[in-house]
């Protein structure tokens, strides 16, 4: 599901490889927790995060697991169950966000929902031309719940966030680059080489200065992240989420990610 390699120069490559498109559920969270626990930040100066899956970086939260969790558990357990999962995923996202190494996300294809939220923990994004960014959560009657909106607010203007959130539309790589969301746009299959070159450049800098610069400029919006969790749970406990998840799970449509 996840592969972590560290080379002699101090560059780590974390490759997500869960078919069909790196859906984020308990197993992915466990794997990411393992990376945060085991990553030797004294040995690594840059972490590259990418996907080996054909469809894209990540299609977001594992909706089938979320549906299963809601239907299998008694209603009174929904609130504490959702809250516990959110606390866990937020700890992972915050962990990646604040790693004392430079983080580069390489994005191709689908980068939706929770996958977009994971990408937003990275210091810099390199998007291949095929990349598309989207917050489709309102279609499910919820808001993004993995810290995406507070993190995106650090990077782009609120009008962009309203557009993404309230329309549910996706943005292509060029537009994302023009908005300042992505540091670079490269051709198909070129993202990893661009990321390695950027990592090599980052590795030339003094480690203390590099870590200090990141900590200075990139802070966690803690209050908003907390409020987001509360709002997510409040919305998720209403009937529209379960209805939308049931429709998704029972659908035989081979193109569930289309609008």
């Amino acid at each position: 599901m996840i592969d972590l390699k560290i080379d002699d120069s101090g560059v780590a490559e974390l490759v997500l490889g869960r078919e069909p498109c790196n859906e984020i559920g308990t197993a992915m969270v466990e794997a990411l927790e393992g990376v945060l626990r085991d990553l030797d930040v004294d040995r690594v100066h840059t972490l590259i995060l990418r996907s080996s899956v054909r469809g894209g970086f990540s299609a977001g939260a594992d909706l089938r697991e979320l549906h299963q969790g809601l239907v299998a558990r008694p209603k009174e357990e929904h609130q504490p169950g959702l809250r516990a999962f959110l606390d866990r995923i937020h700890a992972v996202m915050d962990g990646f966000d604040t790693l004392p190494v430079t983080t580069i996300g390489v994005i191709h294809g689908v980068c939706f929902g929770g996958g977009f939220e994971l990408a937003l923990t990275c210091d810099m994004l390199i998007a291949e031309k095929s990349a598309r960014f989207c917050f489709p959560e309102l279609r499910l009657g919820i808001i993004p719940g993995f810290g995406g909106i507070p993190r995106l607010r650090r990077d782009v203007g609120e009008a962009v966030i309203r557009d993404l959130l309230l329309s549910g539309r996706s943005l292509g790589a060029k537009r994302a680059h023009a908005l300042g969301l992505c540091a670079q746009v490269v051709g198909k299959g070129e993202g990893i080489e661009a990321a390695r070159a950027l990592a090599a450049q980052s590795g030339k800098f003094d480690g203390t200065a590099r870590r200090a610069a990141k900590a200075f400029i990139k802070r966690l919006p803690r209050e908003e992240l907390e409020r987001e969790k509360e709002l997510f749970v409040e919305l998720a406990l209403r009937p529209p989420l379960l209805a939308a998840l049931t429709k998704f799970v029972e659908s035989t449509d081979l193109r569930p990610y289309l609008p």
């Binding site: 069909p20 498109c21 054909r54 469809g55 894209g56 299609a59 294809g109 689908v110 031309k129 095929s130 990349a131 598309r132 989207c134 329309s167 549910g168 539309r169 996706s170 292509g172 790589a173 060029k174 537009r175 081979l254 193109r255 569930p256 990610y257 289309l258 609008p259």
Partner: protein, 77 residues
């Protein structure tokens, strides 16, 4: 000047590696191309780049044929 639908068929055929000569404007594009949702998302990016437009996903709801998609593209040019 080449009609948008012809350019669209050429681009889609190249993207999905199918024979453009076998594609017709009124074909169901998903069936004709054998596209899954991830591939379709990629195609949207390619079309936006080629035609230098933005194609909001919600405007593509219910679009089934190459001709209908070409009409949406033309409205954005």
């Amino acid at each position: 000047m080449k009609a948008t639908v012809d350019t669209l068929i050429e681009l889609a055929a190249r993207h999905f590696k199918v024979d453009a000569a076998k594609l017709r404007a009124e074909d169901d594009l998903f069936e004709a191309l054998g596209a899954n949702s991830f591939e379709a998302v990629e195609l949207i990016s390619e079309l936006e780049d080629h035609f230098e437009i933005e194609l909001p996903d919600y405007e593509l709801q219910g679009v089934k044929t190459f001709a209908a998609l070409a009409a949406k593209i033309d409205k954005r040019r």
